[in-house]
């Protein structure tokens, strides 16, 4: 990280690695989210990213409780609004590593507008969604990624809406790192998240993270039988057309891995005010800037 997250002070803290906090996850035994937090922790440790320079932002839902379970800074906000909070954090202090976690309802339902706009801005964020195709914390209603025909409490006759395709949406919206992981493949997901953390731009990792309580359709076994790794194919992540084509695959074969990666200046690279360093470290106020009143005379 080129910029320091805090103003220089007299003491140099010992490097500390990210680890679990003293709060035990509240997820159901066997929940896919355990695989995601394990992968995230592995990636942060591998890159030796200090916990105090890391903020994990989330919205509301089972997976949005994640920030509490690691020893970083965290902002556990309201439903669907994690991305704007994270963007505000980046623009105030782009020395911080900002990670956003949440579910498919939070990100692609109530938060869909923010999802699209954060990606077109290419804000440097790592966004990890725990996509279980269901609303879990509210006890089992259809989500934006629920499969057509899925019977849930809110759709007893089956879902009649086409599901959102988060990967295709991300590529179309301008995300510059688009990947899919699976909680049953923690090592690969850790690699994908590490790649995301190192990427200079909006990095999106959609993680298949089965809900063992409310989704009896998209289970661990269901995913295991279908996933295959993009890195074991000839897929070229720099080719946006091929990335789109892979993103359309749904059914018997589900690709996981890095779909798309591109280099494009980030919002922070292009925002002139931030070229002088993180906003938190810049001078403020109008003392000595009396000339600002000239236009009113």
């Amino acid at each position: 990280m080129a910029t320091s997250a805090v103003p220089a002070s007299g003491t140099t803290p010992l490097p500390v690695l990210v680890s679990k906090s003293d709060i035990k996850p509240t997820w159901c035994p066997g929940c896919g989210d355990f695989g995601v937090i394990a992968a995230l922790e592995m990636a942060l440790k591998r890159l030796k990213i200090p916990p105090h320079e890391t903020v994990i932002v989330s919205g509301i839902g089972c997976s949005s409780n994640l920030p509490h379970f690691l020893n970083t800074y965290g902002f556990h906000g309201i439903h669907g609004r994690s991305l704007p909070v994270a963007e505000g954090i980046r623009w105030a202090n782009h020395g911080l590593n900002v990670i956003v976690t949440g579910g498919d309802g939070d990100g692609f339902g109530i938060g869909a507008g923010h999802f699209v706009h954060a990606m077109r801005r290419n804000v440097k964020l790592t966004y990890v969604t725990m996509d279980n195709e269901i609303y879990g914390l509210t006890t089992g209603q259809a989500s934006p990624t629920s499969t057509m025909g899925a019977k849930t409490k809110s759709t007893p006759a089956g879902v009649i809406e086409h599901p959102i395709n988060p990967i295709a949406l991300a590529i179309a919206s301008g995300a510059t790192y688009v990947a899919r992981g699976f909680s049953g493949e923690v090592k690969q997901m850790a690699d994908l998240i590490a790649g995301a953390l190192q990427h200079n731009g909006f990095a999106f990792v959609d993680a298949f993270s089965p809900c063992v309580t409310y989704n009896k359709l998209n289970t661990f076994d269901w995913f295991r039988q279908r996933v295959y790794k993009l890195e074991s194919t000839d897929h070229d992540p720099s080719d946006i057309s091929k990335a789109f084509t892979r993103a359309q695959e749904w059914g018997d074969k589900l690709p996981i891995g890095l779909f798309y990666k591109a280099d494009r200046p980030t919002y922070e690279d292009l925002e002139e005010v931030l070229q002088a360093g993180p906003a938190v470290q810049q001078p403020c106020g109008l003392v000595g800037r009396e000339s600002v009143l000239d236009e009113f005379l």
């Binding site: 997250a5 805090v6 103003p7 003491t11 803290p13 500390v16 709060i23 509240t26 200090p50 916990p51 105090h52 320079e53 903020v55 932002v57 509301i60 409780n65 920030p67 509490h68 020893n71 970083t72 800074y73 965290g74 902002f75 556990h76 906000g77 309201i78 609004r81 704007p84 909070v85 963007e87 505000g88 954090i89 623009w91 105030a92 202090n93 020395g95 911080l96 507008g113 923010h114 699209v116 706009h117 925002e271 002139e272 005010v273 931030l274 002088a276 906003a279 938190v280 810049q282 001078p283 403020c284 106020g285 109008l286 003392v287 800037r289 009396e290 600002v292 009143l293 009113f296 005379l297």
Partner: protein, 583 residues
């Protein structure tokens, strides 16, 4: 005292705003007190728009009632405004554009036919030059010395100097000389009285106040009448080092502002009622996570989309009730541009000191009117300190520690050893959730109540720390006005009119509408002979609040909800009715 009111009107797209800006600024450069009202419609072309600049050698606080000079760009303007002209007034028009028979003029109003189009054609075929010619004639009638008009006009073209600026100055000069030659003596004309005064809109004052207070992040979504705060800050962002973001909607706006504040910068957002409605959940989150936040709510006529370019004070109930549950907040209600600057600075201080959202309530009338302010009315606060104040203390850091004031030590992300979670769920002193597996467990039931008490103690702090109600005018008066926000201006002017009629009035003004300093307000209200509540809304929202908080009823009310600002004349009229008939 010398005073003049000049109006210019036409269709949207005619360039009325520019004419008004130049006339208003020329008057403030003469050292006069100026109040300029910008009246426009929610259209880009067509309709009727007008601008009124009132200038006086003595302090004035509103646009006034009548006009002394009217520059009409179309017949509609003449028809609408002629009935409100003072005796001895003059209308400037171009007979090539429309006819004006003597019989159409009110008794005592003169007409000055200026060949504005013909003058314009001398320079270019751009018809907009007629404005400069008419402006020149109008400026002469108003009493603006030509060199001041010329300089203001030149400045208004800024970098676009060259032919266009020269043509405009030429046409203005021709119009000026035409009026000099063809108009009779003008007893209303004002004279320069001193050095130039600052002239700004309420919104510019708010933007300037934010910059002065150390704001480093501003987010907004365009919405009249708050948009010009965005425009001013965006234009000055690089110069002042403020990150200015137009977001996808007001929900993103408020959440971005909260994120930036959480990360350690002073942060603000602004909107009108519709956008504020979208921000409500976010404002509650700022209250729950104890994140400082300044939100400007510039009200316009509601409900729903309402009258987008007209004024109202109808959102007080929404500001009071914004958010589920109880959390501490304050609502400041400045009355003029100088106070809008200081209220914004104060809002940042309150937000930071009390770690909670602070709302600055403006409205169309304050936000978009221009008014003169003295330099000392907009004092820049001294060097703004860094927010990194909490020192690492070895792992026992409690972000939400119980304190007497309710304010807990605030660490910022990036500080080693102080990692905490800010949560919109209920939490304990360390920020750990008590909303899921712990909720309902007896010791955590008590903890929840304790945490509510801690947060709400800050409301009492805000009650004492904010600006308190004040009495303006003599202690003993026949009638006491009670008001908040921009309506105060017309009331201040009305007190002079009433005094001239032998009626002594005073004013109880509420600069912080919530939480109310009841210990100050109750004695003020109980020492009145008769009160008149003046509000620009249907239901008397401040009156309800005062009754709820103090038990004092204000039976006489002057409520206006037609979209137009109060004028001194109508307040005077109402006050006379109340004093003479008791209703």
């Amino acid at each position: 005292m010398s005073e003049i009111s000049v109006r210019t009107g036409g269709a949207a797209g005619d360039g009325i705003a520019s004419v008004g800006d130049v006339l208003g600024k020329s008057l403030s450069r003469m050292g006069l007190h100026v109040f300029g009202l910008n009246a426009y419609q929610s259209v880009i072309r067509g309709g009727h728009v007008w601008f009124q600049a009132r200038a006086s050698s003595d302090p004035i606080h509103s646009q006034g009632d009548q006009a002394d000079v009217l520059f009409a760009l179309n017949k509609e303007t003449a028809q609408i405004h002629l009935p409100t002209m003072n005796a001895g007034s003059t209308i400037v028009y171009d007979p090539e554009k429309f006819d004006l028979a003597d019989g159409e003029l009110p008794v005592g109003t003169k007409k000055l036919a200026v060949p504005t189009l013909e003058i314009g054609r001398k320079y270019s075929n751009q018809s907009i030059l007629q404005n400069a010619a008419g402006m020149g004639a109008t400026a002469y009638l108003v009493g603006i010395p030509f060199p001041i008009l010329q300089q203001t006009l030149a400045d208004s073209f800024g970098r676009k100097k060259g032919d266009v600026a020269d043509w405009n100055i030429g046409a203005a000069g021709d119009g000026y000389r035409f009026a000099e030659k063809h108009s009779g003596a003008n007893d209303h004309a004002v004279k320069p009285v001193g050095p130039p005064k600052l002239l700004m809109t309420g919104n510019a004052a708010i933007a300037l106040g934010a910059a002065a207070a150390g704001c480093k992040f501003y987010a907004a979504y365009p919405m009249t009448p708050a948009s010009t705060i965005l425009h001013w800050l965006a234009a000055h962002a690089r110069q002042l080092g403020i990150v200015v973001k137009q977001a996808e909607d007001e929900i993103a706006v408020v959440n971005m502002a909260i994120g930036a504040s959480y990360a350690g910068v002073r942060s603000m957002c602004a909107t009108s009622g519709g956008g504020f409605a979208l921000m409500v959940e976010g404002i509650g989150m700022a209250g729950m996570t104890e994140t400082p936040l300044v939100v400007v709510e510039s009200q316009r006529s509601g409900p729903s989309t309402g009258l987008p370019t007209k004024t109202e004070q109808g959102d007080l109930n929404m500001m009071l009730g914004a958010g589920q549950g109880d959390f501490p907040r304050a609502i400041l209600a400045p009355s003029d541009a100088g106070e809008a600057f200081r209220a914004t600075v104060k809002a940042f201080q309150l937000a930071e000191d009390w770690q909670t959202p602070i709302i600055v309530a403006s409205d169309f009338h304050l936000s978009e009117s221009v008014m003169t302010v003295e330099r000392e009315e907009v004092p820049f606060p001294g060097p703004i300190p860094s927010l990194y104040t909490v020192e690492p203390n070895g792992g026992d850091y409690k972000r939400y520690a119980y304190t007497e004031s309710g304010v807990s030590p605030r660490a910022l992300p990036g500080q080693p050893g102080l990692q905490f979670k800010a949560g919109s769920d209920e939490h304990d002193e360390r920020g750990r959730l008590i909303s899921d597996v712990l909720s309902g467990v007896p010791i955590w039931v008590a903890e929840r109540a304790k945490m509510m008490d801690k947060r709400m103690r800050k409301l009492e702090g805000l009650r004492a720390a904010g600006p308190v109600p004040s009495l303006e005018g003599p202690g003993d008066a026949a009638l006491t006005f009670v008001a908040w926000g921009s309506t105060v201006g017309a009331i201040r002017d009305a007190t002079y009119l009433l005094k001239a009629k032998g009626i002594t009035t005073n004013l109880v003004r509420i600069p912080q509408v919530y939480p109310l300093a009841t210990s100050v307000l109750i004695p003020l209200l109980s020492h009145t002979r008769m009160t008149l509540l003046v509000e620009a809304n249907f239901s008397g929202q401040l009156g309800h609040l005062i009754r709820a908080e103090t038990g004092v009823a204000l039976p006489h009310r002057f409520l206006k909800y037609d979209g137009e600002p109060f004028t001194p004349g109508e307040i005077t009229q109402k006050a006379l009715e109340v004093v003479s008939h008791g209703h």
